[in-house]
């Protein structure tokens, strides 16, 4: 009934106007799809991403929408993929059926592998936020766009920054110890680091795998002590990371620095909130904002006002992904998937909140993407390397436990 009535009304309206549809005003809304893990094990990160996207969309709409489309407002269709790849596939299908022009999300690599595949199949441009696995953009997909750094780039740059620190501060560090959880993530990161560390003149003197759910990591910490490490590099999940630091404090294991790559803890204000001063001086190479970007303080303040949460890079990357899409929509000039894809491929954004310009190579990866090196200093996360972005001087070697209050 409803559809027949609506059909008749549409026909009547068209007849009354007597003009073909194309001559009428541009659509007043552009439908954007979003798939994020809003429940399940990745719920925290997924919800941060959702908030970042929501903030950007509200800002864009409040400022007059997409100019090139006659001020069309962005409308979001947000679907929860429950942290599960099979559900992520079905969210992509529903977004396609709803007619979205592009899809944002999905935070995790495991989810991005399937969402990018579906996006390719349905020819929907897909701008990723965080997912770091290198392989995502190595499958020759035409509809996948990732502006943020990959796992490989993050590891290589963090090691390069470590080499820079050792040289600039004449630390003379040689001995690195890798502590990794013995699943796929920890082992793969440790393998990469083991290959990279010799390039800056460091020896991996020990590799200490551990069970991420172990009730005690005292043995592992004792092994760190025995290895007389200059740098300890944990690649593990957040709870184990926290337990390692606590046990190092308890056993008074002093090292030059604890540094991680895409760490589960060092770039997280929730970690600092959780363990307090124990988090001090931890170094982490990770996604971060450009502290020199003029707009950044205002955006962070707006986020904190809207959601009462401290800064987290998860939402910032999602926020930035909306602006990448907005820029492309302006240049595409039509809410059309193909034209949007072409516009995205020609992106060249220099006005970003990230410490890099945004453009895409023919694989859809941003070749300029980079991580920064942060250090926790007195409860604040400060960029300490490279010098072009640094907000504070790195504290290395870190003070011994006995001398900390």
């Amino acid at each position: 009934m409803t559809s027949r009535r609506r059909f008749l009304r549409t026909v009547a309206a068209a007849a009354a106007l007597g003009v073909p549809g194309t001559l009428r005003a541009q659509p007043r809304e552009v439908l954007i799809g979003e798939t994020h893990p809003l429940t399940g094990p990745l719920a925290r990160e997924g919800n941060l991403g959702r908030q970042g996207i929501e903030l950007a969309v509200n800002e864009i709409n409040a400022a007059g929408g997409i100019q090139a489309l006659g001020g069309a407002r962005l409308r979001l269709m947000v679907l929860d993929n429950e942290s599960k790849p099979p559900v992520a596939i079905s969210t992509m299908e529903r977004l396609k059926d709803a007619g979205v022009v592009a899809v944002l999300g999905p935070y995790a690599s495991g989810l991005a592998f399937v969402t990018t595949q579906e996006a390719e199949k349905y020819r929907i441009p897909h701008v990723l936020d965080v997912a770091i696995a290198d392989q995502i953009t190595e499958r020759g997909f035409k509809y996948t766009f990732r502006f943020s750094p990959t796992a490989g780039v993050g590891a290589a740059q963090t090691v390069e920054y470590l080499g820079g620190l050792v040289k600039d501060f004449q630390l003379g560090w040689k001995r690195a110890v890798l502590v990794h959880e013995d699943g796929l993530f920890g082992k793969a990161t440790a393998d990469t680091l083991q290959k990279l560390l010799p390039t800056i003149g460091m020896d991996v003197v020990d590799r200490i795998p551990h069970n991420a759910q172990a009730p005690s990591l005292t043995n592992e910490v004792l092994k760190i002590k025995a290895a007389r490490a200059d740098v300890v590099i944990p690649s593990t999940y957040y709870p184990a990371h926290s337990l390692i630091i606590r046990t190092m404090a308890e056993q008074r294991v002093d090292v030059g620095a604890v540094l991680s790559v895409y760490g589960g803890a060092g770039s997280q204000y929730r970690f600092i909130k959780d363990v307090g001063r124990l988090a001090d001086f931890m170094l982490d190479g990770n996604h971060w904002f450009n502290p020199r970007a003029p707009r950044i303080r205002g955006v962070i303040a707006a986020f904190e006002r809207a959601y009462q949460q401290p800064f987290a890079y998860e939402w910032l990357l999602a926020y930035q992904s909306v602006w990448v899409l907005k820029d492309a929509l302006e240049r595409a000039g039509a809410p059309d998937r193909e034209r949007l894809r072409e516009a995205l491929a020609r992106t060249h954004l220099t006005d970003t909140l990230m410490p890099y310009p945004i453009a895409f190579d023919d694989k859809g990866q941003n070749p300029h993407a980079r991580v920064l090196l942060m250090q926790v200093q007195g409860g604040r996360i400060a960029v300490v390397y490279p010098p072009a972005f640094a907000e504070a001087r790195p504290v290395v070697p870190v003070p011994p436990w006995e001398k900390r209050s």
Binding site: H210, N219, S242
Partner: protein
């Protein structure tokens, strides 16, 4: 491998073993009396840990004082659970009983996930990183206190079962259900008592673990899966067996971790498990009827 590392690791294993024993004690008590494997044991531990964390952060009291709340609270929750959920399935086939306790565990874990989120929380006290130095060996104070507390509670419970009338009645109900009922022991109430006591044990273990560990919705599994091994190793339903098994597993796991990497450290536990069961199929101190 220095003597210092070996000694620290050994001590750490003994301390952790005490806590395993306390968790296992609750399990073995419930099994010994009711012949029910309580999969919700870890969830009760997790709830006690959140209660401790909440009390300590909200009111600023010392986490060990939370024992005064979590132990009676654990008892009441255990008693209530037994009456509401376990008693109705006691006569049911075993797999139904398993599903009931497993269902309880899933429900409680997900409830915690919804209430407290998946973020692990850490309770830091002034003495969290305090150590007691014995020669070159540094013993973490909270772990040492957990060990002492676990031994104390085990001793108290053993005394209760051996020396009091109520304790004897409980043992009678465990050993010969119909006979106990014939001489006037309220068997159904004894079952609720056993479940309450078992839950109080694991609640105490939870509180004792908070100062040196973290709290998260799935944290119970870290301790309870090992405790299942301890229970069978020591002999199902055997108290001294749980203590002995707990200490043995703690030491084997810790020393194993020195020589084998990561998750492989668990191999030691299961090797011990297989060897003991081959030599003594009812467990270290298990009675023939178990």
């Amino acid at each position: 491998m220095t003597v210092e590392i070996l000694a620290t690791s050994l001590a750490n294993g003994v301390m952790l073993g005490g806590l395993y024993a306390l968790v296992a004690l609750g399990l073995t008590l419930i099994f010994g009396v009711m012949r029910i494997i309580n999969f919700a044991h870890g969830s009760l531990m997790m709830l006690a840990m959140y209660a401790t964390f909440g009390l300590a952060t909200r009111t600023g009291v010392d986490p060990y004082l939370a024992l005064g709340v979590t132990v009676p609270g654990g008892f009441l929750v255990g008693w209530g659970l037994q009456r509401l959920a376990i008693a109705p399935v006691l006569g049911a086939p075993e797999h139904n009983q398993l599903l009931m306790t497993l269902g309880l565990a899933l429900f409680l874990d997900n409830l915690a996930l919804a209430l407290f989120t998946a973020d692990p929380r850490t309770l830091l006290t002034a003495y969290s990183a305090s150590t007691v130095a014995i020669g070159p060996v540094r013993l973490n104070l909270p772990r040492l206190l957990a060990f002492a507390g676990a031994l104390g509670i085990t001793a108290a419970l053993a005394a209760f079962l051996k020396l009091t009338v109520l304790g004897r009645a409980l043992r009678a109900a465990a050993e010969e259900r119909d006979g106990a009922a014939l001489v006037g022991i309220p068997v159904r109430r004894m079952y609720a008592l056993a479940f309450g006591l078992g839950s109080a044990c694991v609640a105490a273990a939870g509180t004792l673990a908070v100062p040196f560990f973290y709290v998260s919705p799935e944290v119970g599994n870290t301790f309870v899966i090992t405790a299942f091994v301890v229970v069978v190793l020591g002999g199902l339903g055997s108290f001294p067996g749980a203590l002995l098994g707990g200490l043995a597993v703690g030491v084997v796991e810790s020393l194993g971790g020195l020589f084998l990497h990561g998750s492989l450290a668990q191999i030691g536990i299961f090797l011990l498990f297989i060897l003991v069961l081959l030599a003594r199929p009812t467990g270290l101190l298990g009675a023939a009827h178990a």
